[in-house]
């Protein structure tokens, strides 16, 4: 199990690093997919099966595909006229801040006694339970989420359609 953790972590970190550093946008998104897969693997490892499946379904099936579409709609189709820089002109700013943040988080995590905790038990959550909780205890956030998603959907369509409407 430990090995699996290290492999998955390597996949996620490599995927993430590639996703933000590659020149070609499509390659970036493909690495992002690798990253998403690693995260999904982590969820399976942590016994959150449902979340893992949801991660794949939503992130790979929807978000990544959406990004590919966005790239297709905003770049020349072949996509190779990507940014000339590997990391943008102000890479040092981003890098520096990120390193500071990572270092600080790392230090805080190290210092905290909680970090040494090992799993005290294993919980296998069934989907049925999640479903039940979703429509009883969490029904209001659930409905709110439904409204939010609908609003986001309509909003996205309207934003993207704007020009066509103006032309009419």
């Amino acid at each position: 199990m430990d090995t699996i953790f290290w492999i998955l972590s390597a996949i996620t970190v490599i995927g993430a690093v590639l996703a933000i550093s590659l020149r070609n946008l499509i390659h970036c998104v493909l690495s992002l997919i690798l990253f998403f897969l690693g995260i999904a693997g982590h969820y399976f490892l942590l016994r959150a099966d449902f979340l893992g499946a949801v991660q794949i379904l939503i992130y790979i099936g929807a978000v990544a595909v959406l990004m590919l579409f966005a790239i297709m709609l905003t770049r020349h189709v072949t996509g190779d006229e990507g940014p000339r820089e590997v990391l943008g002109g102000k890479w040092w700013a981003g890098m520096g801040t990120a390193i500071i943040i990572a270092g600080l988080l790392w230090a805080i995590v190290r210092k905290d006694a909680l970090a040494q905790a090992l799993p005290t038990g294993v919980a296998a959550t069934s989907v049925a339970e999640i479903g039940k909780v979703l429509v009883t205890d969490w029904v209001v956030p659930f409905e709110a989420m439904a409204v939010l998603l609908t609003a986001a959907l309509i909003g996205a369509v309207v934003i993207a359609l704007e020009e066509i409407i103006r032309k009419r």
Partner: protein, 693 residues
């Protein structure tokens, strides 16, 4: 379920009464313009449902299984809206007591018939759906106001009522006069609302709650603490209770159009006539009087405070003042508008004289016959193709018989003709005032005389004599220019959905007063609403005098206007020929608007002028003096030498400021990522702080 539980159940369901129109308004706001029938049906049906609920509540407060109640049945249902902390929370509540039940029934019932009439009146309007949406919202907010057991909830609905009146008065917002009227109504009532809000704040500050009744000795409601509040001393030499009452009354003055703040009400005639009916009878102006009635314990808490006298005199003055104006108006709706002002003055006077029952009773009866009169006026306006000038009417008796009969009934009720609704309620008021203050009573009686006079004048001008609609324009008429081509058409009777409401209302205008007669074992209405009040001692003088002046007014009106009716639209008013100066004075509404123009407006302008002068003379003078001094000193310095320091210093100072501005402007780079970077740095600093502490 025993009766107490049933009442509790009803109180818990009070919110359903405003809910129906509110839902209707919500649905209508989504409807498309052509959905006229659906919209009207929604409004009317939901109002009918509310009316049924209101009647159910009313019946439960009147009698239980043991027969008629002999004390006030007051049931409340309170709940926590949200908590500020563990100890303090904001509670809202609904109330069911005779005041609420009677008022809700009146609002729902009268509103229902007004809505029916509006389907006819607005038949040709293209914004029919919007109109009914506003109407529903108006009714909902008024019903919400009536049932609320919390001053804040009441205030919210109060403001909603104001908003709806704003929207509806300006419904034809493309007319400049309507746009001006809507603003005027909103701003004038807002002046009163300042007082109201101060009153609410003070009440919350002193009593710690905004709930009116709780029936809980541990957490008494605001009105259950009046005894304690009357002991605390407030402002202007009053107790807290009276101070709050005074502040609240200022709000009521704005809403119920009492004397200094009455100016919006006549201008509100710019709205469609059903709106006028709604504002004048059931909702807007009634809200003020109702609120005073609701908070009445505060007013009576300190028996010898001047607040009650203030209330009475304001009411009394408004009653006489508006009645005199009404005598000299030519616009059919404007006469009614001033008459409303005057009748509201009556109600306020009754409240000030210490009789809650009389004031509220007049509020109820007045609602019926004033709605009747306004809807009748609407019928006349429709029947004469949008003519509002009474000089261009006449002889409508022959063309519009049903409207004429109903209108005459409404006029008799308003004039206090014996045995009609207005007679009994007005009599109660005069009786109560008689025992309080003889002068106020005298003025009230005079106002009653004037009421009879101007109503008779109106009847004779509108319904009798010759049809003058074909005549040329009398000059300053208020006719709608858009309907110029309808001018020469004959008037006609209105369709059934317009005359049916006034017919129904006229039945009530005739017989409703019998609830309040003192003749069979005491005043039923007073026993229902305020049994603890001591009934005013009956006085033959008051009774006969009020009958007398009413009849006198009618006879005089007949003598002046009926014996020889107007022949032409250009004819002068007989009163005008007799007393032209006075008549013009009254016709111009005592020059109140002009007075405001020369006082309030001038005062504001003068203040501004003064400020400008102050700025110019004092501030600038001081500055100039300083400058001259500085110049002199600098001359000295210059002559002393050291030009280098001063010049150089100033230059570099300016330069550094400019540079600083430039640098700071760079922060606003318009680049998202820069902001993001700063944000991240901030987060990093926070983390650092967390790490080292």
């Amino acid at each position: 379920m025993d009766h107490a539980e049933y009442l509790q159940h009803l109180a818990r369901q009070q919110w359903l009464i405003p809910l129906f129109p509110l839902v209707a308004a919500a649905i209508q706001s989504l409807l498309k313009r052509p959905a006229r029938k659906l919209s009207a049906a929604l409004t009317i049906i939901t109002m009918g449902l509310s009316c049924i609920l209101a009647v159910r509540a009313l019946l439960a407060t009147i009698s239980g299984p043991e027969g008629i109640h002999h004390e006030v049945i007051r049931t409340v249902f309170n709940f926590t809206w949200f908590k500020f902390s563990d100890t303090s929370s904001l509670d809202l509540g609904f109330i069911l007591d005779p005041l609420t039940a009677g008022m809700a029934m009146m609002v729902a019932f009268v509103g229902f018939w007004i809505f029916v009439n509006a389907t006819g009146y607005m038949h040709d309007d293209e914004n029919f759906t919007r109109f009914f949406c506003f109407l529903s919202l108006f009714a909902a907010s008024m019903l919400g106001l009536v049932i609320s057991n919390n001053l804040l909830l009441l205030f919210m609905c109060w403001e909603l009522v104001g908003l709806c009146s704003y929207l509806l008065i300006g419904f034809w917002y493309f007319k400049p006069s309507a746009a001006a009227a809507m603003k005027k109504a909103f701003i004038t009532t807002r002046i009163g609302d300042v007082g109201f809000f101060l009153g609410i704040l003070m009440l919350y500050w002193k009593s710690g709650t905004l709930l009116l009744y709780t029936h809980d000795p541990l957490h008494p409601g605001a009105l259950e603490q009046v005894g304690a509040l009357a002991q605390l001393s407030g402002w202007w030499g009053l107790s807290v209770a009276s101070t709050v009452a005074f502040l609240l009354f200022i709000g009521a003055m704005g809403k119920s159009a009492q004397f200094p703040l009455h100016v919006w009400l006549p201008d509100a005639m710019e709205g469609p006539t059903p709106v006028s009916a709604l504002i004048h009878a059931a909702t807007m102006v009634a809200a003020g009087v109702f609120m005073v009635g609701r908070m009445y314990p505060l007013f009576t808490a300190e028996p010898n405070a001047w607040v009650m006298d203030f209330v009475m005199w304001i009411g009394c003055f408004t009653a006489v003042f508006s009645a005199t104006i009404a005598v000299a108006q030519f616009d059919i709706k404007r006469v009614l508008a001033y008459s409303t002002c005057s009748q509201l003055g009556y109600m306020v006077m009754a409240l000030g004289a210490g009789s809650l029952a009389a004031g509220q009773f007049h509020l109820l009866t007045h609602a019926f016959f004033k709605a009747l009169l306004f809807l009748g006026a609407g019928c006349v306006i429709i029947g004469t193709h949008h003519e509002q000038d009474m000089r261009r009417m006449g002889g409508l008796r022959k063309y519009m018989p049903i409207t004429c009969i109903c209108y005459v009934i409404g006029m008799l009720a308003l004039s206090g003709f014996p045995l009609t609704a207005g007679f009994f309620s007005k009599d109660e008021i005069l009786l109560a005032t008689f025992h309080r203050n003889k002068l106020a009573w005298g003025l009230g009686t005079f106002a009653a005389f004037l009421t009879a006079l101007y109503m008779t004048r109106q009847i004779f001008m509108v319904f009798f004599g010759r049809w003058r609609g074909g005549d040329e324009d009398p000059g300053h008429g208020h006719g709608d220019k858009a309907h110029e081509d309808h001018r020469h058409h004959e008037p006609h009777e209105v369709p059934w959905n317009m005359w049916l409401p006034i017919a129904v209302l006229s039945v009530f205008a005739l017989f409703m007063g019998w609830l309040g007669t003192p003749w069979y074992g005491g005043n039923l209405f007073q026993q229902y609403l305020a049994p603890e009040e001591v009934a005013s001692v009956h006085s033959d003088l008051v009774l006969w005098l009020s009958i007398g002046v009413g009849l006198l007014g009618i006879v005089l009106g007949w003598a002046i206007y009926g014996r020889k009716t107007m022949e032409h639209a250009t004819d002068e008013d007989p009163l005008s020929t007799a007393m032209s100066g006075l008549f013009t004075f009254l016709n111009r509404k005592w020059y109140i608007d002009e007075l405001y123009e020369v006082t309030v407006f001038r005062f504001t302008a003068a203040c501004a002028m003064f400020c400008r002068l102050f700025d110019k003379l004092v501030v600038d003078g001081v500055l100039h003096a300083i400058t001259w001094g500085a110049w002199a000193i600098s001359q000295i310095f210059r002559w002393v030498g050291d030009e280098f320091f001063i010049n150089g210093g100033f230059d570099s100072g300016c330069e550094s400021v400019r540079l600083g501005g430039k640098v700071l402007a760079k922060l606003q780079s318009g680049r998202v990522q820069n902001y993001f970077r700063v944000l991240t740095l901030g987060a990093a600093i926070l983390l650092l702080v967390y790490f080292f502490t």
